[in-house]
């Protein structure tokens, strides 16, 4: 019982703070999420983190579902599948709520803020930081999975496809899965 409570507390603290720091969307906090859930709390392994990242990217819905999957494993490690489901829901709610409250507050004054210098400064200033964080996510994920040279080639090819075509990404991820199944990466 003590384990569950402690895990739940860690879930609340981690994901609520990630929620508020996730400028540019959920993908910018992946390095921090990895640092805490793999290295500090040891909820999941390096490889599992990379796996749930891939699965959540392929699943339908908003881009933060990796949080649901990590919450599940954190909970089920502490007290079995039922606690796992609670952990998943708790982690998801914590990832949504703080940022959601902020958006709720700001959206009521947003139209009036159209020309405010704060808005322009935040929009222009944080943009390059967001890009740096997203690139850091890709870098950390590549280090987290056992990425051999073949996997780097596949990542490179897929990046070209994603940046130059409008093919539905799910098809590309699926095809890459088949390539993996065939043992080519």
């Amino acid at each position: 019982m003590k384990d569950d409570a402690l895990t739940f507390m860690h879930i609340v603290v981690l994901f609520s703070s990630l929620s508020l720091m996730s400028i540019g969307g959920g993908n910018s906090v992946l390095p921090e999420m990895h640092r805490k859930s793999v290295q500090d709390y040891k909820w999941i392994s390096d490889q599992q983190f990379a796996d749930v990242f891939a699965i959540s990217q392929a699943a339908p819905g908003p881009s933060i579902l990796i949080v649901t999957m990590i919450g599940y494993q954190a909970g089920s490690q502490a007290g079995g599948p039922v606690i796992g489901i609670l952990g998943a829901l708790l982690a998801t709610a914590c990832m949504i709520l703080p940022a959601g409250v902020l958006v709720y507050i700001v959206s009521s004054v947003w139209t009036k803020a159209e020309k405010s210098p704060v808005r322009m400064a935040v929009e222009r200033g944080l943009a390059p930081i967001t890009v740096g964080l997203i690139l850091a996510s890709a870098y950390v994920m590549a280090g987290s999975s056992d990425h051999g040279w073949q996997a780097y080639v596949l990542t490179g090819l897929c990046t070209v496809v994603f940046t130059t075509t409008k093919i539905n990404p799910i098809l590309v991820v699926g095809l890459a899965g088949v390539i993996g199944y065939l043992g080519w990466v």
Binding site: I96, M120, A121, E123, V131, G132, G180
Partner: protein, 190 residues
Amino acid sequence: MSGKGGEGRPNPSLFELALTFNHIALASFGGGLSAWSREVIVVEKKWMRDEEFLSAVTMCRILPGANQINMAVFVGSRFGGLAGALAAVAGLCAIPVTIAVGLAFAYFKFHEVPELKSVLRGATAAAIALTLSMAIKTGRKCLGGVVPILFFAAIFALNGVMRWPLLACLALLAPLAVLWGWPRKKESEA
């Protein structure tokens, strides 16, 4: 509810908000959630005009939180206050979260199966590519000039390579970046 018929301000019910965002979440399977939101909210339902929608997209992008969830909060609260925001977010998330819990259960049960490992190794390579392409697409727009490139490189090095805690990275760089981004010309004072 309000007696104005015809061309008045749209007045979707909580249920309709939830249903619409559920539809958006499932229709955008595999990506393009933002494009689908516009398709449904602006074109199909006519809840917002294009300019309003784009302005909302900007807000959702600069504030923390997943962009799609922020959009649900924005649209939901506009038409139904706090209840509307909750209904829209619940509609957007209910089925995807249920699926994610199911996937988590299945994955942690079967992750030792060699075939699954191989499939995921390939899928991870593509998922990383997806993240990379997001960095490339957004980077093209905002990395013109020495200062933005310095901010970009600094946060990448600190958070990605040196693995500093994110809070420390942001505390150091975000104020400087906002200061740099502050409009300098006097006419911006409205």
